[in-house]
Symmetry: C2
Subunit: 243 residues, 2 copies
Amino acid sequence: MRVKSRSEEVVNAIGKDIVNGVISPGERLPKVEELSEDYGVSRTVMREALQGLAARKIIRANQRSGTVVLPRDEWQLWDLSVMSWISESEQRKDKFLLDLTEVRLGLEPDAAALAAKHATEEEKARITACFERLEQTLDDPKAWAAADFDFHLSIIEATHNQLMAGLLKLLHKGLILSREKTVTSLNEHTELQQENPTTEILNRHRNLYEAVISGDADRAKAVMTDMILRVRQLIEASQQQQF
Amino acid sequence: MRVKSRSEEVVNAIGKDIVNGVISPGERLPKVEELSEDYGVSRTVMREALQGLAARKIIRANQRSGTVVLPRDEWQLWDLSVMSWISESEQRKDKFLLDLTEVRLGLEPDAAALAAKHATEEEKARITACFERLEQTLDDPKAWAAADFDFHLSIIEATHNQLMAGLLKLLHKGLILSREKTVTSLNEHTELQQENPTTEILNRHRNLYEAVISGDADRAKAVMTDMILRVRQLIEASQQQQF
DNA sequence: AATTATTTGTCCGTATGTATG
DNA sequence: CCATACATACGGACAAATAAT
């Protein structure tokens, strides 16, 4: 396992505080020397940490006038660290999951259509292998989640659009983060709502799989749209229920 | 204007070299001391620069074994700096512009629909103001481009989805970068293709504007889709022509 | 308009940690 | 398990920018 550097730790600590409103946009951070004392690291490390936050457009450093927190709409949300801080934030995580799903709804059906159009034989073979893994892990939720991730990934990477692929990869990682941090587990919830959800879900995946492999872009798009709409329903239901 | 720090300059220099294949994925960079000598900066600055590249998943630093360039599919493409390097790369920029447009096609129609559904009175007023600015700048290409950017932004921000808004903002900035670096200017090209493109384009924008203001989500989505498909046609035509 | 004070930005000598052979 | 080579971390000094006086 990869061990986090000191500056990464500090980035996470300060980043979480900012996301959770402990420090608000517009406020000024203490100067570097003070911060480095607070967090028990050298100025070098603290400077690197501040640069990490600045790269994500969360703070801006100005000579003499100090370092300030930038307004929320400037933050670079499409970053795994920022996503993890939001996923852990009680105030933010619900809206975050819905927003992610909305973006997914725009992109992933198109990605499926592109994959149906452009997948090479090699890519189709990989998609097939991923689907077969899905069939075999119906009874093991953890293995199924991993297989599901790989299945979607194999389709995403067949789009031959690196920008879209990178974005959807990040989005799915965000979804996983979001699910991990959700106490009222979505898995448990789906089990409550339906008698036999897994075979129905597998059939949806089979539809998608067949559409992509057979090169039917329109059907792939439609099936993917349905799948995500279904997920959104479950999320909305699960979030309603909390009150 | 904001002046770039030394480390930012070094990030750009090395980043461009990597994007252009001067240094390839898998290759190892010289050690920090050597690099800092090559670029005429201190080790501190070079370390900050390397961290900037590492944050974008372009390199990974390992103790003892040194710093290596990561494979392309790990790079964080959704970053303005990375986008600017690609936009300046002769080998990459054409595909990049098409890929961007494809992502736009997935997202922005949905964003328009969301805006039509959720825009507040205040946001509608801003959208109206932006549209009126469009009407008034028909004869000034530079002012029109700026007004166009703001018009799209005003719709994007009415989605009430910060993730989508941040993404589309970045995407539009990427489009601008891409256009700036394109020698065979798209503007000139459109003028060659049509007699009177500007009024037709304005009418498309009026359709979109009216749909959003009247809360007609389906129409807003359809009009936006048409607009982007039209842009894609022009891009494809312009890129074909280069040979 | 000039000076000063404060804070970030830069430099470098040194020490420590860690993975590789 | 040791030696080596590299990134990582420390801290004191100075440079540059700019808000306040």
